[in-house]
């Protein structure tokens, strides 16, 4: 039996961040990863000989500056160039192009609409800015907080006050609104409203008309790249490039990374976690266990209901985590030509969501376990910005497609071909001829994501990112502040506050919590 100070379960980006920060604090840390390489859902893989793509997350838009700094990622090879990648709304007419950070400039709309957008964008970024400080700290503790925490929260209250009275009134009114109504109050362009509505609901089981869907947009706008709020970029080498920098930082900090090591259970003695048992029978001991994997797996599979209160088991089971996004990868023999889109803009993010009501209509079937016959999607062609991802002259297409419910009626084995056909029909409409340029394809449904990445429900965020599963209720109340009902066991994954996306924040906050409560 070997022993260390802390064991981190799961080598995804959050696990790497947590392990590195703990190691830097002088602890002896072991990181256990089930797969042959670290990265989790933030890897780059070769899906066809010569064609490589970011496995799940494909755009970097919220890697937290504190994480970049604390891990020294830029010294370890991370570049944050090209962080104002354009977004293109492919509509029925001329595309609308958002340039700069989330549309600082706008092409393809009349001047009046551009002005209205400028005001709305400023308002949204201002409001998201009020919420941003909540992300990089432990959520408020309802049972009482030390003075320092109270003061920090008071600071957020003050920044709200600084908005001014009328702005603050609008902030409070809009906070839980649906994104569609907000857009209708300001804008008229279908394509623009479609794109923003799509962004607000991407990754969640909500339509643009669902109350609270604006929160999703705030979550996105609370992210930044290299100090630019609302910025986005394609990382060099795909998302695996980011993870390589993290792994290098972890190694330098002295983290012992063990890949190919599946944890079978968390050892609990008298309500306290004391180590882990591996699938091969080996046992590792440590006073601190940090689980950077899915919370349901952590509690139900690794801890087991025997060591948990009934109420806790019920809460874990009630966490909603059914994914709704599929990932499509295409190996193309040439660069596709999206109608009306300038060659340079093909390097941007292309969004097929012709109107907010189209997005809503695409959402409807997902409520009943069917996929959208006319799905909406976000497309990137990463090989245009990083030639190493595809052979010469060829091209990689990577798309996040909504809505693809995890629990598809009839199952995904049966539904997959029809869904792929529906996606290709949408692509063909906007890039005629693209179908004939496909050399190979890979469609990851939520069911595939579940098995391939060990993410129950195939959900990006390890749990719906909706207000009732946020802050101290993420993943559930009782495990909301990274510590859990089991002494010595901490959570550090996207299932914890503030949620998913390649931000590194749950890992960072969890490490800070561990440092605050253990020696």
């Amino acid at each position: 039996m070997t022993s260390s100070d802390a064991i981190v379960i799961g080598g995804g980006h959050n696990g790497l961040v947590a392990a590195t920060l703990l190691a830097r604090s002088g602890r002896k840390v072991v990181l256990l990863e089930a797969e042959g390489e670290v990265g989790g859902a933030a890897r780059t893989h070769e899906f066809h000989p010569g064609f490589r793509v970011s496995s799940i997350a494909h755009i970097l838009n919220r890697l937290h500056p504190d994480v970049v700094k604390a891990m020294d990622l830029q010294r370890h090879g991370l570049t944050l160039e090209g962080r104002a990648m354009a977004s293109v709304a492919l509509g029925d007419a001329e595309p609308v192009v958002l340039r700069g950070a989330y549309g600082e400039m706008l092409d393809g709309v009349p001047a009046s609409e551009a002005t209205a957008w400028k005001e709305l964008r400023a308002q949204l970024i201002r409001y998201a800015g009020v919420l941003t400080p909540l992300l990089a700290r432990r959520p408020p503790d309802l049972a009482g907080m030390p003075l320092s925490e109270k003061l920090a929260l008071g600071g957020i209250g003050l920044s709200l006050r600084r908005l001014g009275r009328e702005d603050m009134r609008d902030f409070l009114r809009m906070l839980l609104m649906n994104v569609s109504d907000v857009l209708d109050e300001h804008l008229t362009s279908d394509a623009l409203r479609g794109l923003v509505a799509f962004d607000a609901v991407l990754g969640s089981h909500l339509g643009p008309r669902s109350p609270t869907s604006l929160v999703g947009l705030y979550y996105r706008l609370a992210g930044e790249v290299g100090g630019v709020p609302g910025g986005q970029m394609l990382p060099q080498g795909g998302m695996g490039g980011v993870v390589s920098a993290m792994a290098a930082s972890a190694a330098e900090a002295g983290v012992a990374i063990r890949t190919g090591t599946q944890v079978a259970r968390i050892l609990v003695e008298k309500g306290r976690s004391v180590g882990v048992g591996l699938a091969n029978g080996e046992e590792l001991r440590a006073a601190t266990i940090v689980s950077a994997i899915n919370p349901r797996t952590t509690f139900l599979d690794l801890v087991g209901s025997r060591d948990l209160d009934t109420g806790i088991v019920r809460k874990v089971q009630n966490v909603r985590m059914k994914g709704n996004v599929a990932k499509l990868h295409l190996a193309l023999d040439r660069v596709p030509d999206f109608s009306g889109v300038a060659p340079e803009d093909h390097k941007g993010r292309l969004v097929i969501a012709p109107s907010a009501s189209h997005v809503e209509r695409a959402f409807n079937p997902a409520k009943y376990g069917a996929f959208s016959p006319e799905p909406v999607m976000e497309i990137v062609l990463p090989s245009l910005s990083d030639a190493a991802l595809a052979p010469d002259g060829a091209c990689v297409l990577s798309a996040n497609v909504q809505f693809a419910p995890y629990a598809l009626k009839g199952g995904w084995n049966e539904g997959r071909p029809a869904f792929q056909k529906a996606i290709m029909a949408q692509l063909e409409r906007h890039a005629p001829g693209i179908g004939s340029s496909v050399i190979a394809s890979e469609l990851l449904t939520p069911a595939d994501i579940e098995t391939r990445f060990q993410m129950p429900g195939g959900h990006w965020h390890h749990g719906e990112l909706q207000p009732d599963q946020m802050l101290m209720s993420r993943p559930f109340f009782g495990a909301g502040g990274y510590d859990t009902p089991i002494d010595g066991l901490f959570l550090a994954g996207a299932g914890s506050h503030p949620g998913g996306g390649v931000s590194g924040v749950p890992g960072m906050n969890a490490a800070r919590r561990v440092m605050a409560v253990t020696q």
């Binding site: 009134r169 906070l175 839980l176 909706q466 109340f477």
Partner: protein, 539 residues
């Protein structure tokens, strides 16, 4: 020329409650009503000889008992008859009953699922806890979080203390509950679809939301906070139809010296130098009053009755952005005999309660999908009651009045106005659904009145036919209702107040907005309000 102390626009239940309280405080009050009948959406109308129709609102439960007592409504003839429960008839010919008797209720749930019968205990406890927190807020003016006035600060402190009185898990549950969908909330407790469908309906009635929309769990509370005879969550019929509520209010009002003028439609509110001076009626007649209170919804009041130049821009913008999409219709039917529902046991007490046919949350949500596309639901959700099973005064002996609330029904049909042909097709959708469960139903129909949002707006004056005078979503609740900065019944025009369901705490025949508005007005007049009971906390 006479100058009244206060003029109330609209003789709906909130207008009358407001009028009663003001008159009893010693003011000289006039109520003006555009129709030749009073009651707004709480009326009983004899639309065919011998039958009284509760043709808008149809059950009585939310009406605050404090108001009933303050205004002595039982003395003026109001009687509320509690009913037993209800049933959902399922497509496969079975039913799920709901009884007021706890044990009978539990046994019925256990017939469907032992696990759900067990879960119901937890569910009832948890929902009651949520109600207990919210209920006292109904009869208090929402504090303005942006204000530093002592009163707002002390109200905020009251809320803070109330919240702090909860345990941490209770606080977390509450915060979570407020933004959940009723469907997700019920999924945490129950496994049986029909049970979830039955319980989900309180989360959507009157809203422009589906059971899967976040926020509908809160709407459930809005419908649970009623009580009949001290029995919380119970529902009842007003004897003589819903008009009995407003008739009793009107009688109480007149008895204390107030005046009601019917067929007196207000054309606009008279404003001079930023101050309210009275109203101008449709014929041009000016009626003077020191204060004016509008029972109309906030859009109708400020976009139609007050001139734009009297209102500040941010206020106008917010009023224009107020969401008031109608979502329901009504089919009122006179029957020459009691309809049969073969699925139910003979003489089931459920026949005296509310009946539904929507046996799954999915069907309910699909009905909502139609509404989003501006169509009435092809498979609508119906809430039917036959009040004549308990109240013989509403129909000739042996005959019955049936009220059929229908959701969803859009304010416009695919972008255009409703036509008579649309209305008839809508009614046919409803009748054919009932006929599927009740053989021979069509032959029993003596007379039928069909009300779409078009009729509700034209007759009762509800903008877009929204029965709550504004949607019940977070952005339009508490200090945001009707619009931020004006949630305390006052308006930007001095002397002009609001008292309709557009204001806190919202719709339903509750009377709380009317009462709360009166409290604020008396405060402004520095008059005592000793005749006004404080909100009690019974749960």
């Amino acid at each position: 020329m006479k100058t009244y102390d206060a003029i109330i626009i609209g003789a709906g239940h909130n207008g009358l409650v407001n009028a009663c309280y003001l008159q009893r405080a010693g003011l000289d009050v006039l109520v003006v009503e555009k129709n030749d009948w009073i009651g707004g959406a709480a009326v009983s109308r004899e639309l065919t000889p011998g039958f009284l129709y509760s043709n808008c609102s149809y059950v009585c439960s939310l009406f605050r008992p404090e108001i009933m007592r303050d205004l002595e409504l039982p003395k003026y003839g109001l009687q509320v008859i509690a009913y037993e429960g209800g049933a959902v008839l399922t497509q496969d010919g079975d039913y799920l009953a709901s009884y007021r008797d706890h044990h009978a209720h539990r046994r019925e749930y256990a017939r469907w699922s032992a696990r759900d019968a067990e879960a119901y205990e937890r569910y009832a406890r948890d929902v009651t806890r949520q109600c207990r927190f919210i209920q006292p807020l109904l009869m208090r003016t929402a504090p303005d979080p942006m204000s530093f006035r002592p009163r707002d600060l002390s109200e905020l402190a009251y809320l803070g203390r109330k919240f702090a009185g909860l345990s941490a898990p209770e606080m977390a549950e509450m915060l979570r509950f407020w933004t959940m969908s009723i469907s997700d909330f019920l999924d945490e407790y129950f496994e049986t679809d029909v049970i979830k469908a039955y319980l989900a309906l309180s989360g959507i009635i009157g809203t422009a939301l589906g059971p899967m929309s976040p926020g509908t769990a809160y709407v459930l509370l809005h419908h649970y906070m009623g009580e009949v005879d001290g029995s919380v969550g119970a529902w009842g019929y007003a004897r003589g139809g819903m008009g009995a509520v407003t008739q009793a209010l009107a009688d109480s009002f007149r008895a204390s010296g107030g005046t009601i003028r019917t067929e007196a439609e207000v054309d606009r509110v008279l404003v001079r130098n930023g101050e309210t001076k009275g109203v101008v009626l449709a014929g041009g007649e000016e009626v003077h009053g020191r204060l004016v209170v509008s029972n109309a919804d906030v859009k109708r009041t400020f976009l139609k009755l007050v001139e734009e130049k009297e209102l500040p821009d941010p206020f106008l913008r917010r009023v224009r952005n107020f969401k008031i999409r109608g979502s329901s219709g009504k089919v009122n039917i006179a029957l020459d005999s009691m309809p049969e529902f073969p699925a139910l046991p003979k003489d089931s007490p459920c026949l005296r309660g509310d009946l539904h046919f929507t046996d799954s949350v999915e069907r309910m949500e699909r009905a909502y999908d139609d509404w989003k596309e501006e169509r009435w639901s092809a498979d609508p959700f119906l809430d039917m009651v036959i009040p004549t099973t308990l109240d013989p005064t509403m129909a000739p002996p042996g005959k019955h009045f049936m009220s059929c609330f229908v959701q969803y029904c859009p304010p416009k049909v695919e972008g255009r106005d409703w036509t008579d042909a649309d209305r008839d097709a809508f009614a046919e959708t409803v009748i054919s659904q009932i006929a599927d469960y009740s053989p021979g139903f069509r032959d029993r129909i003596v007379h039928m009145e069909v009300r779409t949002p078009r009729e509700l707006e034209a007759e009762v004056g509800l903008t877009e036919g929204n029965i709550f005078q504004g949607e019940l979503t977070f952005d339009q609740l508490l200090f945001n209702r009707p619009v931020p900065g004006y949630a305390q019944y006052r308006s930007p025009v001095k002397g002009l107040y609001m008292c309709g369901s557009s204001t806190h705490p919202g719709g339903g025949v509750m009377g709380a907005p009317g009462r709360n508005a009166a409290a604020e007005m008396l405060r402004d007049l520095k008059r005592p309000a000793g005749h006004m009971s404080e909100a009690h906390d019974v749960i």
